[in-house]
Amino acid sequence: MTVLDAHEADALAARHPDVFERSPRKRLVVWLITGGIVLYFVFAWWFFSIGQVFANGNWGIAGTYMADWISYEIRPDIEYRQNHLEISFPRFSPLGDNPAPDWLTEKRATVEIETESPAGAASPSSSTSGGFLGGLSGGNESDTSGGLLGPMESGPSSADLPEVDQSVGVRREEAVIEASVSIGAGKRVDVFPGRVEVSRGDETLILDIVQGERVEPRGPLPDWASQREPGAKVLVQFGFAGRAEIEDDEVKIRRRFLGWENFFFDTRSPFFDRSAGDVAYLVLFGEPLQPGRSNAALAWDNFVNNADWQHGDVWLKLLQTIVMAFVGTVLATLLAFPLAFAAARNIYPSRIGNFMLKRFFDFLRSVDMLIWALFFTRAFGPGPLAGISAIFFTDTGTFGKLYSEALENIDDKQREGVRSVGAAPASVQRYGVLPQVLPVFLSQSLYFWESNTRSATIIGAVGAGGIGLKLWEAMRTNSDWENVAYMVLLILLVVFVFDNISSALRRRLIGT
């Protein structure tokens, strides 16, 4: 092994400066390129005003949207009344029409509830009219509503308006006086009329509510709670598990659960909220839930027409996308195949013909798939026909170019051999050319078939139909991200399957 000492190494370096020291010009080029890229990024930052866009971005909602992909929220509102609470769920709550979740416990008691008498209630402070009407209608009211108390038994809640006792009816009824929402381990919100207690771990925040006016926290706010200004609503964060907005008239609870809600049956289905075993039993052995229809048919119908997930429609749209890619690619292959022979210099020796055809292919390819898709959407109306036509036009150009290039690169010996034994021109192509190029042609088509499945999704969104359009509509609402996740999952599955089919076929065809 040769060993160099430092002196000798320096001498070698001095002899070959071009190896060890790059020329100033080359070094300058490196700096110029680096500087150019940096300058370009500065320009792009300014051109797209990226900083401003990011600053104005609604980043707070991003986490919620991300979480919506794999989870759902249940949103009870707890409203304060004078001495009791009212719990309500939104109309299309994932829990159905009669929600009674076990994480929301309520304490009921009989309380006196002020009811406003039919006529005099509008302005209880107008004592004269109130008294007059109260005197008149007292007896009637006790007849109509059985729970009405005697006018003298005024509840504590109406103590501030003593002189209008008679106008304001009071009835005794069982109502919620305390609601307690458990949001994960150690996190809970307890709501009382006039007071809300939030505990997270060992910290507890107590808020006093002046109904309809202000929210007053007792003591300093912990870092998981925030209030914009004194008296305004208080926002309490519980991380992924949910959050609560404590306002001066109600507490909005947002409780988040992992998973896709009502994936199989929506709330209107008779199978809603039943366990899998229960459903299986009903389908196999149960009495028909609807007369004249077997449970299996009913379950399938309820599942496919699930209002939240629209399984049937999603699958149909997915099939449209698959069909778009398949038909478009096959038709393009069929048309490009003969045209490529005419465009290849060595097959069809007409300079003008070759040139014209090749420019035609370039035209089809360069007028983008998007433009074709927009044109045909306008012409055929939204649906797979537009997508098929767009893929067909673009890919005829691409295949024509690729095929004619493959034809121009064939080995001529095989063709000469076939011609030398006196074969007809058609036979020369069939036995001299085709065996060389057919595997390449098919392999190219398969490759594009697979990538067109992806493209078909995208052009679908501009109106060419298929799952792309459905996906786009689901995203536009900003609230159906779980449906987006479902469709993306299906698309990924389809692309994965086709990827494998296509590469398996290509391996069999050309062995690569």
Partner: protein
């Protein structure tokens, strides 16, 4: 092309060969016929399904296609140029259809850039920025995914799966997600195209790296170079021309992709094209199509020329858009 002539009597061995050949030919014929039959059925079914589920049936809509093509003819040929360069139109009646000068983007007091050129510039910049970002991150990831440079199996596995997810995730979903957060504009389009590009280029790159000549790297390893030094001085100079060639190919695809993303709210020329087609502004539509066509051809030609200089003939290929 039968090899045997009918008159010749074959020996026993010859008859066996003949029988085998016949069997083989029959099976191949069966496969061919079966394959064709399958394709015909699949195509027939697909076409029927496509026609049934379309908003309008093919033959009912066919006359409208020609009507639509007829509607694309502007009132006179010069209208296209007026629309393209934002010159005032003699047909201006105050409607959106002929308000070409309204779109002018003034650079100085008197010098303006026509609207569509500005939008085209925006689209090209979306593609360019996305390609740069994708190149940078794909570059870094590719060395971590190459089996000849990264010995930790779990890291390689993780990086490869990560790139696969980036590549397979529909761009439209990424764009839609960022459009919801950042509101309409070019930045969501950049992010969507860039994220896809990272995955696509990363895969191409690590395959190049795996085919690189490892002797330079071995030499550097022998003198005790660190991993970064070995990669930077041993591998990068070999693979850079190929990397750049793939990046240019990707740029062509990204120009098209950013046009499409633009049409769904990502800004740029795609958006104005979609609007102009849906509003039936024939001169504007033709002007945009002309501009887009010329730009795509120019980008393709430029990229082909540069790739040819970088890696010679071998880089010539047309990649599908996905």
């Amino acid at each position: 092309m039968s090899v045997t002539s009918p008159g010749t009597v074959l020996s026993a061995a010859g008859q066996t060969i003949e029988a085998h050949w016949q069997a083989l030919a029959a099976r191949r014929r069966l496969y061919t016929i079966g394959g064709i039959l399958f394709m015909v059925l699949a195509m027939g079914g697909s076409l029927w399904f496509a026609n049934e589920s379309n908003a309008g049936k093919f033959f009912d809509r066919l006359p409208y296609v020609f009507d639509f093509i007829g509607q694309l003819i502007p009132r006179d040929g010069m209208e296209i140029w007026r629309a393209l360069f934002d010159l005032p139109s003699p047909y201006d009646d105050g409607s959106l259809k002929y308000n070409y000068p309204d779109g002018r983007v003034y650079l100085t007091q008197s010098l303006y850039m026509p609207e569509y050129f500005y939008k085209m510039l925006e689209t090209i910049n979306i593609a360019l920025v996305a390609t740069f970002i994708g190149f940078g991150l794909g570059f870094v990831l590719s060395f971590l995914a190459a089996s000849n440079l990264t010995t930790r199996r779990w890291l390689r596995f993780f990086v490869r799966r990560f790139m696969e997810v980036l590549r397979a995730f529909p761009e439209i979903v990424i764009a839609g997600f960022f459009l919801a957060i950042l509101s309409l504009g070019a930045v969501p389009a950049i992010m969507a195209v860039a994220i896809h590009t990272i995955g696509a280029l990363g895969k191409m790159f690590f395959e190049v790296v795996e085919n690189a000549d490892m002797r330079a790297e071995e030499g550097l390893r022998a003198v005790g170079a660190t991993w970064v030094e070995r990669v930077w001085f041993g591998i990068v100079p070999q693979v850079l021309p190929n990397f750049l060639s793939y990046a240019l190919l990707r740029l062509e695809i990204n120009v098209r992709a950013s046009t499409i993303i633009g049409a769904v709210g990502g800004g740029g020329i795609g958006e104005v094209l979609r609007l102009s087609i849906s509003q039936g502004h024939e001169a504007k539509t033709l002007a945009i199509v002309l501009l887009l066509f010329c730009t795509i051809v120019a980008v393709d030609q430029f990229s082909a020329w540069l790739r040819h200089r970088l890696v010679g003939k071998q880089a010539f290929q047309t990649a599908p858009g996905g």
